[in-house]
Structures are given as C-alpha cells and as structure tokens.
C-alpha cells in the first residue's frame, strides 16, 4: 500500500529539495549590495506611491463571492451533463427533476441578489426604517426619529 504512494512521496521530497537548494543557493552565493531603491517593494519598476494598506470598497468582495457561487453551480452542472446524455431514461427523468430543483434554488438566490441590490454598484443596503415599527402601518414621525437613531 505504501508502494502506491511512494512515487508521490519521492516527488514531494524532490520538489522540496530542489526548491530549497535554489533558494538557499541564491541566498548564499548571490552578491548582496543593498540600496534603498532595491529594497523598496517592487511595483513594476515604478517608485511605490502611498501606503500598501489602502482601503478599497468591500463591494469587490461581494461581487467576487457571488461570481464564485454561480461559477461552482456551473461546475456541478457540467459533471451532471457528461453522464446525462448516455444515461437511461429513468435516470434522466430522476436527475432532471433533481437538477431542476437545484437550479430553482439558485434562481431564488439570484432574484434575492437582484432585489436587495447586491450588484448595484452605488446602492448601499441598509435597514428599512419600517422594520423597526411594531405595526405594519408606519407613522411618519416615528419613522423620522428612527432614521435619526440609525444615522
């Protein structure tokens, strides 16, 4: 059993060895003439400007994660489709219903994303003041005071 994994182990050891030798070798053998310009962060040959810990909108994260989610969905569909075409009919029906339910759930999620404006670049989702009211109908002065409290 160990024999099966031996080549992988050898590969791992070899990779570690080669990388280690390269890094250590260049560190030991390479000339070290440190100048302020050389030890500054590499910015495609341009002098670095400003700070590296700049703040950027969290929107990027949201869009990225939504992209990953829908991307993964397609990956699952792909593996399903590859066996779907040659499968017997009862499997096609059964798995077809399964996938329809699965896609239905994605569509619900997609509708929700659009509805709350997760993809609108300028939109900031915030709590609707009506949520704080005890009754479904909203009195105007109370709404104003709540907005004040939220602000």
């Amino acid at each position: 059993m160990l024999g099966d994994f031996m080549p992988i182990l050898v590969l791992v050891c070899l990779a570690a060895l080669i990388c280690g030798v390269m890094v250590v070798g260049s560190y030991v053998l390479g000339p070290k003439k440190v100048t302020p310009y050389k030890s500054s962060p590499y910015e495609c040959g341009v002098m670095p400007l400003g700070t590296a810990t700049e703040r950027f909108p969290i929107k990027f994260y949201l869009v990225a994660i939504l992209f990953v989610l829908f991307d993964i969905e397609v990956v699952f569909l792909w593996s399903w489709l590859t066996i779907f075409k040659d499968a017997p009919t009862d499997f096609q029906v059964f798995s077809g219903v399964d996938v329809a339910v699965y896609l239905g759930l994605w569509i619900v999620g997609y509708l929700y994303i659009i509805k709350i404006g997760a993809l609108d670049w300028d939109e900031a989702t915030s709590l609707a003041p009506e949520k704080l009211e005890a009754s479904a109908t909203v009195a105007v002065p109370a709404q104003a005071s709540n907005q004040e409290a939220l602000a």
Binding site: M1, L2, D4, I83, D86, A87, P88, D90, F91, F94, L105, V108, L111, Y112, K115, I116, L127, A128, E130, K131, L132, E133, A134, S135, A136, N146, A149, L150
Partner: protein, 507 residues
C-alpha cells in the same frame, strides 16, 4: 450504466423539506414586501416549524430504516434530535424579533438563515453518510457565520463572525480530510463501513481508519466545543447578537452531538484506540469550561464557558453509552440535551433584555437592576440558573443524575467524580449571574434594559415550564425518546444495509 434509482420515502424527509421551504417562502416575503416589519415572516416561520415538528412527531414509533439511497436514516436518534432542533428554532424565533428591534438590526434575513441552519442540523443528525454529514455541517455553519455577523455596526459582532468563519472553515477542512481517509480505507462513504471493515483489514488500513476517525472527531469536536477545540466559543458567543448566541449554543450543540454519536457508535469496534483520548477530552472539557467561567465578567462569556462545560457532561453520557451499550441507553444523552437546550436558550433570552435603543451591554454590571425592570423574566432566569447548577427539582439536576448513574454503570467512575466536582464549581459563577440581576442599579455602568415583549415572555415561560415539566416526567421523556422496545444497539445494526461496499482492495 448500472444505476439504481433511489427509493424516496417522503415522510422521512418531510421535516427537513418543510423547514427549507419555509425559509425560501420567508425570503420571498422579504423580497415582495421589503418595507414591512417582520411579523409576517416570524408567523410563517413559527407555523412552518410547528408543521415540521408535527411531521417529526408522527414518525415516532415508525420502524427504523434508510431512504434516498442510504443517505437519510430514520431512527430514534435522528427523530429526537430533529425534534429538539425544531423546538430550539421555534423558541429562538419567539424572542428574536423583540430583541432585534431593540438592537435596531431587525434584518428579515435572520429568519430564513436560522431556518436553514436548523435544516442543516436536521440533515446532520439523520444520516450515516459522511458526505451528507459534511453537507449538513456546512449548511448549519455557514448560516451561523452570517448570523454571528448580523450586527454590522458592532466591531465585536464582525470579529465574532470572522473568527467563527476562519476557525470553522479550518475545522471543516479537518473533518473533510478525515472523510477522505475513511473513504480511502473503507471504500465507502458510509460511517457504518468502519464497523464492518475494521476486523477484516490490515494494520495499514487500521492506521488510515484511525486517522480518519480522529480527524472526524476533531471536526465535530470543534462544533460541539470540546476542549482542545473550544477556543472560539467565548469570543463568538460574546460578539454574536444574543438571540443568535442562544440559537447557536443550543442548535449547533445538538447537531454536533447527533453526528458525534453516530461517528462514535460506528467506531465502537476500535474504541481501545480512541477511548482514552475521548476520556481525557471529556475531563478537560468539563474542568476547563468551568474553571475558565469562574473568572469571566461578561454574562455571555460565562454562558459560553458554561456551554463548554455542559458539552463535557453530555460527552460523559455519550461515552458511557458507547462503552457499554447494553447497560446504558441513550436516554440520558437525549434528556440532558433537552434540558441543556431549554435552560441555555432561556438564559440567553433573558440576557437579551440588556439591549436597548441599538446598544447592548452584557457585562455583569450591565444587567444590574434587571429584577426591578423585568421581574417575570428574572424569575425565569432563577429557574434556568437553578437548573444549570443542578438544584432539584429541575431538569438540569435530573439530567446530571442520569448521566452520573450512567457513568457509574459503564464503569467510568472517574468521569462521574469529575462531573460531580465540576457541578459544585459551577455554582459560583452561575450564582454570579443571578446576583448581578438582583443587585440594585446603583453603580451600574449602563443600566438599561428593554421592556420584555410578549414573545420573550412566552419563550422564557416555555423554557422555564419545560425545565420543571421535564424533571417531573423524566422517566416518560426518556422512555419516549429512546423508544420503548428498540434499544440503540439494535437500531444501528438494522440501519446497516447489507449491500454496503466491502473493504477496498488497493493492489
């Protein structure tokens, strides 16, 4: 292609379906009427959970079996745990809306997320398939990560969500690696394959299986907050909104113990290897949880550490059952999970009163004077604290007594002694909470608290009543939960279907 369509027994999966669909409907309501308050969604959620609960209840007494291509198991463990999860979500919904409004974070997304977390937990406890287990674990966890960070204005809540997410993702990875080892060694994704494969395999396979079981236990230990994996608990419990903390403390523990139970029972033939480890984890969990709770100054942290200690108590019951399944049934495990859920959820419900006008303080001095502002809730808090300490006649006392007896019957006397000693230690910090609630307001840093709403009053009343009811009907609860005639040992063997794949033969 050689594919057999799985048979589908709808009643078995109905509870999970109802809970999931209720969540989806709640999302639709929120999408259609975003500018309304959440009363409709709360009502829908409660109705859905009630239906799900009744569809679980209907299955009590039905024969055990598997459906959905061996993915879903129906047995007593699954049914009882499902019922507990549904009940926990129900009570959490009752007091959530008032609290969320006081904290000014009544996002309607809380309700679907909590429902889906419940559904994930319900999947976890009704399967022996490791992938399904993982799926349930992730559905439960990811919903909880989002819920923990729901209070977006508070850095503590964000910290809690991020910490929970990073550590939880790591624990999930460990769990998944364990599944990979088990699959590699047994050639099956089913937990019961461990039992069947173990005697017939070589020492090499044994090593793989042990690695697999160990990593699976570590992953579940994280969810259940057992001691070497407990570090996240106090921070996450403190930072998350209090209703989420209550839900999380009860639901994720029930689900994790449901899964842990199945893994341990499947791994019973190799218990000579893992039992010493679990034995010490159990002792550590009880002791560290209680000792760390003594020095805490924040109510939610105290309850967080108390939930760690309680996980230790439940683990004693589980280990006693796995050690000698003939002598010790699962009655005490079920019973204590029920008692723990009620008292913890109730206590967090009362603590949630310390939020007002978008602010919340949960340090001990912040709940000073709660007695004068919400006497009914504090009376219930007395009940929960008495039960957590283990004062008769409360469910906490009866539960601990059952576990103590189990441990003695299974020959685990050291665990019984540690449990008893720890119960005494716990008196100190539990009484600290009560004292803080009764102290007058003078000197309080932020002496404010919300008026308890009708939902909260019902929630704490249900929990407090349940604590007494369960203690007076202890035998009945145990008997109903374990099933009158079917012992747990038989249940496992009947759910092991004969057509499982045998041991793999890597050449």
């Amino acid at each position: 292609m050689n594919y057999v369509l799985p048979t589908v027994e709808w009643p078995t999966v109905m509870p999970v379906l109802i809970v999931v669909v209720t969540g989806i409907l709640a999302v639709f309501i929120e999408m259609l009427w975003p500018k309304r308050n959440n009363n409709v969604i709360v009502g829908l959620g409660l109705v859905g959970l009630g239906l799900a609960g009744s569809s679980v209840l209907k299955q009590f007494g039905a024969p055990d079996g598997v459906t959905f291509g061996d993915m879903v198991v129906r047995d007593q463990v699954g049914l009882v745990m499902q019922l507990l999860l549904v009940g926990i979500c129900f009570v959490a919904f009752l007091f959530s809306e008032g609290y969320l409004r006081e904290k000014q974070i009544p996002f309607a997304e809380f309700y679907p997320l909590a429902l889906w977390a419940t559904a994930g937990g319900m999947l976890m406890v009704t399967t022996t398939n490791t992938l399904e287990l993982f799926l349930g674990l992730e559905v439960l966890s990811i919903a909880l990560y989002c819920l923990a960070g729901m209070s977006r204005q508070e850095s503590k809540s964000e910290e809690s969500a991020l910490k929970y997410f990073l550590l939880g993702a790591f624990a999930s990875a460990v769990f998944l690696m364990g599944i990979a080892y088990l699959f590699g060694a047994t050639g099956s994704l089913d937990l019961n394959a461990i039992t069947s494969v173990w005697p017939a395999t070589t020492p090499m396979h044994h090593t793989l299986i042990l690695f697999g079981v160990g990593m699976t236990l570590a992953g579940l230990g994280f969810k259940a907050a057992l001691v070497p994996f407990h570090q996240w608990t106090p921070d996450v419990y403190q930072g998350a909104p209090t209703n989420v903390t209550g839900f999380m403390a009860a639901a994720s523990k029930v689900a994790a113990f449901g899964a842990l139970l199945r893994v341990l029972m499947a791994a019973a033939p190799l218990q000579e290897f893992w039992f010493p480890a679990m034995f010490w984890i159990c002792i550590l969990t009880m002791t560290v949880g209680n000792l760390a709770a003594v020095v805490q100054k924040d109510v939610k942290r105290i309850l967080g550490y108390s939930s760690i200690a309680n996980a230790g108590y439940i683990l004693v019951a589980v280990l006693s059952h796995v050690k000698s399944p003939d002598k010790v049934g699962l009655g005490s495990t079920f019973y204590y999970l029920l008692a723990y859920s009620m008292m913890t959820l109730g206590a967090f419900a009362v603590v949630s009163l310390s939020a007002k006008g978008g602010k919340e303080g949960t340090r001990l001095q912040d709940i000073h004077g709660l007695w004068s502002r919400a006497p009914f809730a504090v009376v219930c808090l007395v009940v929960f604290v008495a039960s957590l300490i283990g004062i008769p006649p409360s469910a906490g006392f009866v539960g601990k007594l059952f576990i103590f007896n189990d441990a003695l019957a299974a020959g685990l006397t050291p665990l019984a002694i540690v449990l008893a000693v720890n119960s005494v230690i716990s008196v100190y910090y539990y009484l600290g909470i009560l004292q803080a609630a009764f102290v007058s307001e003078e000197g309080a840093v932020r002496n404010q608290s919300a008026k308890p709403g009708i939902g909260l009053n019902i929630a704490v009343l249900v929990c407090a009543f349940g604590v007494f009811w369960a203690s007076f009907n202890a035998t009945w609860v145990q008997k109903t939960a374990t099933g009158t005639s079917v012992s747990q040992a038989q249940t496992v063997s009947t759910t092991t279907s004969p057509d499982r794949m045998g041991p793999s033969n890597p050449e």
